[in-house]
Each structure stands twice: as C-alpha cells, then as structure tokens.
Symmetry: C2
C-alpha cells in the first residue's frame, strides 16, 4: 500500500531554560534577541582548560544535558576509516577488517572535530533503520597537544544489532573509565524504527535509559545542523564539478525545503521551519529495492560491489530506448532517441527472440552481440552473465540500469512533490546515495530536467547520519546558540561570521 501522504507537524519540544553557569558558552553577536540573552552568561572566553569535575557530575547527572561547542567545527577526512583510539572497540569486541566488512560494521571517515568542546558528553545516539543502524558518539582527543574532541560516525547492519549494542556497551565502559561515572549515567538517544523494535533489548543489555525520538523530527534537526553549522558539508553535484560546496545556506533562510531521505524506503519531508515538518510523500522503491533486486540478479555481496558493477555497466544493453522503438528521435514530444523509454524493456524481447531463433533454426541464440560492455573475469565485481533461455545479460548492465531506474524515479517523484509545495531546494539524504557519483548525477539531472533548472538538488557528506545526529542534538534547546541562519535571521554572510571566532554553542 502507498504510505500516508500527509501528517500534521509534530509539536516542537519545550525549550528548557539556559544554565546560569555555562562553561564553554561563547557569545554569538548575531543571534536572535530572545536567544542573545542566553549567550551573555558564563566564562565564555575560557577555552583551553580541561573539563572540571563539577561539570562532569552535572553532565552525568543530566543525561543528554550538555552543551556542544561547535565553534570551529570541521570535518576530518579519514577515508581509510581510522579513528581516535578511544573510539575503537575493546579487544573482546574488536574485529578484523574483513569482519568489519562482512559483519556489517563500518566506521565512517569524516569525523567532525570539535576543537573547542572539552566537556564530557554523557549520551550517544543511534538511528536504527530497516537495513542500517547509524551510531554517533563523542570522544575526546587523546593527543595531549590537542584539546576538544570529535563526533564519530559508525554504521552497522541492522541485523547485526547485537554487534551495535556490544559497541555501545564498549562506549559505556570507555565513558566510565574516563569519567568515573556509573553505567546508568550514559544515556542512549535512539530513533528510527529500531528504536521501538529493539527498545527493550537495548535497555536490558546496557542497563541504561533509552530515550526514543521521532524519526522524521531527528532527520530535520540533523539536516538543519549540517546545513547551518558544518563547513564543507552541503554540496551540489555536476559532472564538471562533482562536489561544489555550498559556503552558506542557499538562501537568506534555509526554509522551506524538501528533504528526500533515501534508505531502504524513501520519505519526502516538507520542512517549513525549525522542527516544523510534514511527511508529504514517499515511495517503497528505494535502496532496499536496489540492494534486494541486485542480490537476486548479480553475485554482488554488498552495496559497494553493486555500485562498482554499475560503474562498469551499459544500461542500453537491457533498457529499451526511444530509438529502439522509433528508430529515431520522437521529436514531436521532444524525446531523444537516447532517452530510456522502458527500463529493462529489452530483456523480454531478447529472451523471446532467442527462444524463437532456437525453435526456428534449432541453433543456440546468443545475446552477447547486444551487450557492448566487456566483462573482466579478473575483477571480483564482475559477475557471470545471467542466462535467460539462450540469452546472456551482464550483471554490470543490469546494475547500471536498475541504479538509473531507481534514482530517476525518486528524482521525478521528488520534483513532483517539490513542485506541488513550491519548494525550490531539495536535499537528498540517506545511505542509498553513499557519495556515489552516478547516483548523485542521476538525481541532480532528474531534478534539473523536470524542473527546467528551477529547482536544485543538494547532497551532504554525512548524508546517512541525519537522523543519528538529530537524535544526538535533539536535547539541545531549539535555536539556542545557533547561527542566525534560521527563522529569517541575518544574511548568509552574517550567518556565518561565527566561524571567525564567535562560534555557536549547542546547549541544554
């Protein structure tokens, strides 16, 4: 059944009062007036000292009740996935690299350094989706020459939830070691369907409080944070410039916008203000569809293999193009001969033709002449062709065709919803994209094509962690310490002055 088309906005969570003594608090000269007064408290110039015991006690006794100093925050590129020592699982849970890949546990690079945050953080956040569980947690920098800490991003296959819980248990132990706290003092913020499905399991395993947060709300809180606080996070894609960073919110205010979150399934969320959102649509044709069908159709073991196959494929070996039907362009309605008329439309025809050839001539039909792309047996991502009757179809071609089909379809539906709600900016999140150029190119092209260039597609480097980061930050008061980029605040330029020294603080 199609998912529900609309729902009313969730009520904004209550904003708690700011602390009267706010260590780490840094004034930001451009906050909204009612927020500004919140900034005037605290010894806000004191950045270099270590966290004091009272602060730790305060943090520990109020789970999630801590201010994240994001001044000067930046992304640490560690494409090899290495992490700070303290974030690695302890020996009894550590795995070999092979196990990491096979076991469905992967530490993402792209940690976010928080050079000016030194306080203890007493919570971790996990977003448990249909296929993947995304975990975000804070760690101190261990090198004595550095203060501050970083946000770490780890993902697990949801079916390996036990590994995920074991990883959290390890963080819990780390937390005790560092802060001398009692186990119950680490709080787990959980969102996504798994926050409900595995609620009891997590509580019993960790003996801690598990705070469940709404999935959609966490997604937009996380996205707002990335858009407004993290440099070199949001970017647009074009073949000429695959990663053109958006230096500041794309307009005076980031609202309204459409978030298209592509996980196993797809949710489309209209965001009209901070924590003001409506799920206006979605489709069941998402990442799970691509992963599932390619599991059935190719030898690819994981998503990366599938993307590698797609990169080498030629979709025209299986897709029916306008030219295949017309023998030319269909100019009258502006369809070029190279346009895809029917995804996989050639397969049934070729299968039937091969069957007839075999019947008519008793010979073996071979579809290979229809498959220009070459197979390289030495490549692990090059699977054997699929035989249908006497016709062969290459895994590479099938993968590329399906990637195009799913991405184009999401792009068209996203455009139609954005158009119906007059939304110009479309952000694509979720683990489906995986920073893959073909996917982003297809989504960008679809939005540009259907909207005749009037709407724009935006991507994020932490695309898969919107919900987890949203859950991690949700306990922070709305807009407190945020840049003025929200609620029609100052102009983009002003909105980012904070980066020059007056960094924002996300507090209670």
């Amino acid at each position: 059944m199609p998912p529900d088309l609309s729902l009313s906005s969730a009520p904004s969570s209550t904003v708690s009062a700011p602390p009267t003594s706010a260590a780490e608090a840094v004034p930001t000269s451009h906050e909204q007036p009612q927020q500004h007064q919140h900034q005037q408290t605290g010894q806000y110039r004191n950045h270099k000292r270590r966290t004091t015991q009272p602060e730790l006690v305060d943090a520990i006794s109020h789970p999630g009740d801590v201010r994240i100093n994001v001044q000067g925050a930046f992304i640490v590129d560690e494409e090899n996935g290495s992490t700070t020592p303290s974030s690695e699982p302890s020996s009894e849970t550590s795995m070999s690299l092979q196990e990491l890949e096979d076991g469905g546990y992967e530490h993402d690079g792209k940690d976010i350094r928080l050079p000016n945050h030194t306080q203890g953080v007493s919570h971790i956040a996990v977003d448990i989706g249909g296929s993947l569980a995304k975990l975000v947690y804070f760690t101190r920098e261990h090198s004595s020459s550095e203060i501050g800490g970083r946000l770490n991003f780890v993902k697990f296959e949801t079916d390996k939830i036990d590994t995920c819980i074991e990883f959290m248990r390890h963080l819990q132990a780390e937390h005790q070691t560092q802060n001398g706290s009692k186990p119950k003092d680490l709080c787990v913020m959980a969102t996504g369907g798994g926050a409900f499905k595995y609620y009891d399991k997590i509580r019993e395993a960790l003996k801690v409080e598990v705070l469940r947060e709404d999935e959609m709300e966490c997604l937009i809180i996380g996205l707002d944070f990335f858009i407004t606080e993290i440099p070199s996070e949001v970017f647009t894609y074009s073949e000429a410039n695959p990663m053109s960073f958006v230096a500041s919110p794309p307009s005076k205010t980031i609202y309204p916008y459409l978030l298209v979150n592509i996980g196993s399934g797809v949710s489309m969320i209209k965001v009209s203000g901070p924590r003001q959102y409506t799920r206006i649509g979605g489709t069941s044709l998402g990442g799970g569809t691509l992963w599932g069908l390619l599991s059935l159709l190719t030898g690819a073991r994981n998503f990366d293999d599938m993307l590698k196959l797609a990169e080498k494929g030629d979709n025209t070996a299986v897709d029916m193009l306008v030219g295949d039907i017309y023998g030319m362009d269909y100019n009258k309605i502006g369809l070029k001969s190279t346009a895809i008329a029917s995804s996989f439309g050639k397969v049934y025809k070729m299968k039937r033709a091969a069957e007839r050839e075999a019947e008519d001539h008793g010979g073996l039909a071979n579809g290979d002449h229809e498959h220009p792309s070459a197979s390289s047996p030495l490549d692990p991502t090059s699977a054997d062709p699929i035989n249908v009757g006497n016709t062969k179809f290459k895994a590479e071609d099938i993968s590329r065709s399906l990637l195009y089909a799913v991405s184009n379809n999401i792009g068209q539906i996203a455009y139609l919803h954005a158009s119906a709600h007059n939304l110009e900016h479309i952000y694509f999140g979720g683990s489906f994209i995986g920073g893959h150029y073909q996917t982003m190119n297809t989504l960008s092209y679809a939005i540009k094509f259907w909207s005749k260039g009037e709407k724009k597609a935006y991507f994020l480097r932490h695309e898969g962690y919107l919900g987890a980061v949203g859950a991690f930050l949700k306990r922070q008061p709305r807009n407190w310490g945020r840049r003025g980029s929200m609620d029609g605040g100052p102009l983009p330029g002003e909105g980012f002055e904070g980066r020059d020294g007056n960094g924002p603080v996300w507090g209670r």
Copy 2:
C-alpha cells in the same frame, strides 16, 4: 534520462467537408449546430441494403475515406478468441494454438459488432509499440442472416513484425477477393514507434500506401471513441465490483482528463478537448520493466505466466513492511505496520543473515521459514525458488512484489500529475493492465489513496487498442456525427439518446 515533461498540443488535423451524398448517414438530433448541418444530407434511413459498387469504388479510390456507422455498436464477447472466418489468416500463414502463443500472435476476443455498417472499408490500422503490435481491421458478417460487420483486434509481438505484415498481406488478399479492388487500394494506417521504424518494410511488403499518424494523438482519438461510443467499454474497479461499467461519460463533458498509457514504458497525457493534448509526463518503469525483470528472475515464459505467478505470491516474503522496521505501526505519520516500506527490502537482509549464519555455525541457512506461500510443483507457472547464497526466494512472491511496486509507482506518479493539472478522471490504457484484477486493484487503490478519494481510476476492455483504433478512425472528420458528449455538449442522458436509434456515423 527522464522523458520530456511537456509539449505543446499538436495542431488538429483539418476537417474535410462532408459528403454531399452520404449513404448510411443518420441524423443525430443533439449535435452541435455547426455539426448538425452535416447530418442533414444523405438518404440516411436506408440501412438494410448491401454496399453498392459505386460506394465501393468511392471507398477504394479514397483510402481511409469511408464513414463507419457505429449505430448500435456493441462488444461481442469471444473470450476463446475465435473470430469470423474472414478474419482468419489463410492456410499458408495460419498457425496452431501453440504457435499463436509462442509466435507472439493472438486474436483478442471482444470484437466490436457494427450491425448497421455495411459499406466496404478500405483501410486497416496498426499500432506498433516497443513490445506489441496491435492491429485493428473491419470485416463483413458472413452469415447471410446478418448485415453489418465488426472491428477485429489482433496483437503480435513487435519482434514478430513479419508475422504481422504477413497477416496484413492476408487481409489485403481478402480485401481484393471481396471487393475486386487492386492491392494498392488497401490503405494501412500506422502509428506507434514501429510506424516509423518499419515504414519501408511494410510499404515494400504490401506495396501499399502507409499513412503514419502521431502516437499520442491516436491514443486520445481512440480513447474518446471508446468513452463516447461503445457501451460496456469503460469501467471502474473495486474488489466488491471488479467491473462496474460507466453507463455514460463520467461528467457532462469528458474533458479534461488524464490518460495513463502503460505499455513497455508509460506516457501520461493531459487531454483538454478533442485532439487537444499534452504529454505531461511518463516513467520508464512500465510493462517492459515488469516483463524484463521477471524474465530474469522467474521461469515464466510470457506475461500471462507472470500474472499467474503474482496471483499465487506473497509479497511480504520479500517486501520490507513498516512493521518489519518498527515492530508496530508508525502511527505518528499514519503508516500501518502492513504498509510496504521498501519493495524487495527483505531480500538483502535475508541474504546477509543467511551468509552470516553459514559463517557463524557452518550450517546451511534456509530462508523458507520466511516464505509462507506454498509452492505447487504440479503447476506450470510455479517456478523453482531462486537461491541467493543459502536463501531461497519464490518466483510467486517476487512476481507479486514487483507487480505491486510497478503498479503503485505508476499510480502515485499519475496522481501527482493529475493533481498538478487538476484532473479528476484518470484513464488507464495500454497492454500492461491486461484486464488483470490485481493490477487494476493496485492502480485504483493508489489513486483513491493518494487523492483521498477525490480522483477516480477508469479502465477499458480494449485498453491495449486505443492507438490502433485511433489510427483506424483518425481519417474521420473530428466530431462529425459524434454524440453530443464532447465539447460541453448535452447532458449525459441526452448524450446517449443516439443509442436508441439515432446512431452516430463516423464519416469523412
């Protein structure tokens, strides 16, 4: 690439002047004034006599230049596909039933009887799509007790275009035998991509004039004809009443409406008046996608086998439901636990789980316990399960899931386009539907669901022949002799008086 979103309406073809002597012409008291005068000429009461030689000569010397008397037209149900003798191919081209199915040539039942048309018809029409070629032609009734004739509907696989041409050659011979005309005198009206791709081939084979007509225009001409002229043609679907015929155009005027034509690919056409149309969208995820992927994934030999598989399948064995993610409903956004969150979303998870089980315990994982639907090996449409690693997936379940996915997706996109253009009535045409209840149920449900019951899905018994019938009729002057159901004419009741005796005539 996505197909072009819009195009300007094609110019209406010039309406030729009415004949000064119009045999068979019947007055229709409720025509538009400017049309009415066309009706006042001719010996229009003379129904019973045979076609005269002068009329034949007139018809033959003007290809396609003949008036079709549709007074009292009705559908002849011949589900067994038998036809009038004269429409069968001559011995050298006739095939066994097995050959019909395998060779991609099938005579549709549901001929349309034209009891009051006795004149010769000097043209046949063919709509050659990406997968199927649809042929429409007129034959006399041979039983001496009957006058009039009928429209016959035959379809071929486009790859068997030679068989289609041979069939036309046979009709050409019949035409000569009956009318003593010369071969060149039979005119072929051709539309669809194949009209261009196979233009030379058809001309050379038949040595006749081939008139190519625009595909989209033919589709709407054919649909208008079926909506306004043929009783028991248009119907709505519901599980309680699978075929509830629409006794008259669904509103005072049938315009505007959306035509969703589902062939190998999908075209969505906004129709605002007679021959006033715009292709506003489409998707490459159509019939060709279902047929192609199920050819790769199941042992089904043809579309009927695939539909039979889908009827027996359980999509929840491969689809990820909201309940699979949440363990409950996601009430906050109104998603029931039974809603499909991700089509095929379970497959990758189950494959990975089975791999891990094999790794962890060295045992064989078997996914069958996840597959409630039973396999019946005695049934030819029951294929062997697909093994992915150690996990088995049933062809029946895969077929049902994909049928749901493609149909739901088309339904959502159709709704979004209809909503953007404020179109209430959505007609589904094309060979994809094939009168299949599951498909119509899914499309109807999707439209009802997304539009909250404000928009309605309509189906046709000749769904696959809109283009062919449109090409067959295109040479008739627009609206000439039509019922008043067009251009904001009389009310529905009046609009159908014609059936009580004042039957319409489609003429030059």
